[in-house]
């Protein structure tokens, strides 16, 4: 079995809201302002066709479908570097948001956040995609990874509220509400836990595992574990260890939803071998496999560090989940939101009960073809209710439990406030709730080995093609030429020269001259493009 040197990256999609004196700004103007600021302020080369840019730290900044800014980290060789460059990306985005706000004058704020889901009924979601280089058949990888992707949410979940619920349902991983199947090649509609896209972005015969079911995280610990643990499982799978063999889930999607709804982390899922296992037990299985193979040559040098932190977090979750509330996103949110609920007089402990009532009412309304918002509870459960039968049935049920509609009314009344808190939690900049807590010294999520994030905003990783790309961008952006940059090359359309980056571990700049190609192309531009295409396919 061929083994690949590890290489990873993370794409982060940012939600953006522009406000001027509290009134919403046109999104297009805000996004345009950010891109304009990027071209003015950042050392960059333009990309090939999306109107985006590649930056001197080797990353890519562009506007993705759905009109949101996106930052793709440079290719990194260890999980700490991923954390460093993802956070460097946040700083760059934050700077661009401030510049875009300044363009619109005083009283303007451009809020960028890592909120993962939209709570305004659009069913929109923002992704955080991971890429892992590997050299095995993607079909072999799927069963090794799916139980991990389902159970890792106990430390990789961003936390928040189930965006499709009529009530106020806390979820360890709110984005999973938008996943409908186990496997899919789609990333915008019918999303699957395992994404089958295999676009290598290299020509060395390796593959690129593309994971789309993760979430953007504020915690360095959570992000480090997300990438580190997944990379170790990929390495073990590649070496033929079969790390997921004994933990195949009967229904991965059902297990994912159950784990996401269980902050105690104690509910077991049905396995294919008739056993039942909690998410912690499944994770411990993977951890044991990793620890047992630490001395093998296929395990990366940083594997021990990942295993130590992995074990510490699992131990804490097993013994006392709230003890992780200063290091994991979802756990911190759970503590904060329970406290806020108590302050608002909301019966947090009874939310599950009330959520069921709210969802039953919402279904009855939908079945009756009524688009009445649940917020108008008086009208829905009153004498002129459009769903009188269900409302009466639920009213009687509540009476039998000596309960009243008041609690649900209070919950629904504060729902929007909780959603705003959740959106503002991951807001970039000092005003963001997570960042404010971090600055106040209340958290315990930082990893010393992440290093200097500020330096990473303008310096590429030390190894691999990201290093060559970043260094070349810094130099070429000051030189004359018709430059275009891509993951696999930098091209000067003015003279037909192409810097070949199709080898992910290229160690020096190698420029090729596309004019050597006799294709009968009638312009230099089409000849250069044809040359790049042949280069991608390994023909030149």
């Amino acid at each position: 079995m061929p083994r690949c040197a590890p290489l990873f990256g993370v794409e982060t999609e940012y939600a953006v809201t522009g406000l001027r004196h509290g009134a919403p700004l046109e999104r297009e103007a805000v996004i345009h302002g950010m891109m304009h600021a990027a071209r003015q302020q950042l050392v960059h080369l333009p990309d090939f066709c999306s109107g985006g840019t590649f930056l001197e730290n080797g990353s890519r900044f562009y506007i993705d479908c759905g009109q949101h800014p996106e930052m793709s980290s440079p290719e990194c060789t260890d999980p700490c570097s991923v954390v460093r460059y993802v956070h460097a990306g946040h700083r760059i985005i934050s700077q661009l948001a401030a510049a875009a706000a300044a363009q619109h004058g005083p009283g303007t704020e451009v809020i960028c956040s890592l909120c993962n889901v939209d709570y305004s009924d659009t069913q929109a979601t923002w992704g955080s995609h991971e890429s892992y280089r590997h050299c095995m058949s993607p079909a072999i990888l799927q069963p090794q990874l799916v139980p991990h992707l389902v159970s890792r949410i106990i430390y990789t979940g961003a936390g928040g509220f189930q965006p499709l619920s009529a009530g106020l349902e806390f979820s360890l991983s709110p984005r999973i509400a938008h996943f409908q199947c186990i496997e899919s090649s789609d990333s915008t509609c019918r999303r699957g836990i395992y994404h089958t896209k295999n676009e290598p972005l290299s020509r060395d015969g390796s593959h690129r595992l593309h994971i789309i079911c993760g979430e953007s995280l504020c915690s360095q610990t959570a992000l480090f574990l997300k990438v580190g643990t997944t990379a170790l499982i990929v390495a073990m799978g590649e070496a033929g260890v079969n790390p997921g063999g004994d933990v195949q889930l009967e229904s991965p999607l059902q297990a994912l939803r159950m784990f996401a709804a269980d902050p105690s982390c104690k509910k077991p899922a049905h396995m294919k071998n008739w056993r039942r296992m909690t998410a912690i037990e499944i994770q411990r299985h993977y951890l044991r496999q990793a620890e047992d193979h630490l001395h093998y040559s296929f395990m990366p040098s940083w594997a021990t560090d990942v295993c130590l932190l992995w074990r510490e977090v699992l131990d804490r979750l097993a013994e006392d989940p709230p003890s992780t509330n200063r290091m994991l996103d979802w756990s911190l949110k759970y503590s904060l939101y329970a406290d806020q609920a108590a302050k608002m007089g909301i019966p947090w402990a009874r939310l599950t009960f009330w959520n069921e009532i709210a969802n039953r009412l919402a279904i009855a309304l939908r079945n009756a073809g009524v688009s009445e918002p649940l917020l108008r509870l008086e009208a829905i459960v009153g004498p002129n209710s459009p769903v009188r039968e269900e409302a009466d049935r639920l009213t009687s049920f509540l009476r039998s439990k000596e309960m009243r509609w008041d609690d649900l009314r209070r919950i629904l009344g504060m729902r929007a406030r909780f959603f705003e808190i959740d959106t503002r939690f991951s807001e970039l900049g000092q005003k963001g709730i997570f960042n404010a807590l971090d600055a106040a010294g209340a958290l315990q999520h930082r990893l010393d080995a992440v290093g200097d994030i500020e330096i990473a905003t303008a310096t590429p990783p030390a190894m691999g093609r990201a290093h060559i790309r970043g260094e070349a961008i810094r130099r070429l952006s000051a030189e004359r030429g018709d430059w275009r940059c891509d993951w696999q090359n930098i091209t000067n359309f003015a003279d037909g020269r192409v810097l070949d980056l199709s080898d992910p571990f290229v160690a020096e700049e190698v420029w090729r001259d596309s004019s050597v190609l006799e294709l009968g192309a009638d312009t230099s531009r089409t000849r250069v493009l044809a040359y790049i295409e042949r280069m991608r396919r390994g023909l030149s």
């Binding site: 999104r27 503590s335 904060l336 807590l437």
Partner: protein, 64 residues
């Protein structure tokens, strides 16, 4: 552990070497601190704005 450095953590030094009671007190103090800092951070972040309007202003198509 080499990796996990409790930077910015007011209580981490005092926690080491504490008795069991002292540790418990430290954990309680941390929990209280966290919640009171969070309460202040939430108030600063949200101000007195209307959350419904904020969510409407943020309506978008989303991504992948």
């Amino acid at each position: 552990m080499r990796f996990l450095v409790r930077q910015n953590n007011r209580h981490s030094q005092s926690a080491s070497g504490d008795s069991a009671d002292g540790s418990l007190n430290t954990i309680r103090a941390q929990a209280n601190d966290l919640l009171s800092e969070a309460d202040a951070a939430i108030r600063r972040a949200l101000g007195n704005g209307d959350s419904e309007s904020f969510l409407r202003a943020g309506r978008q198509q989303g991504g992948q």
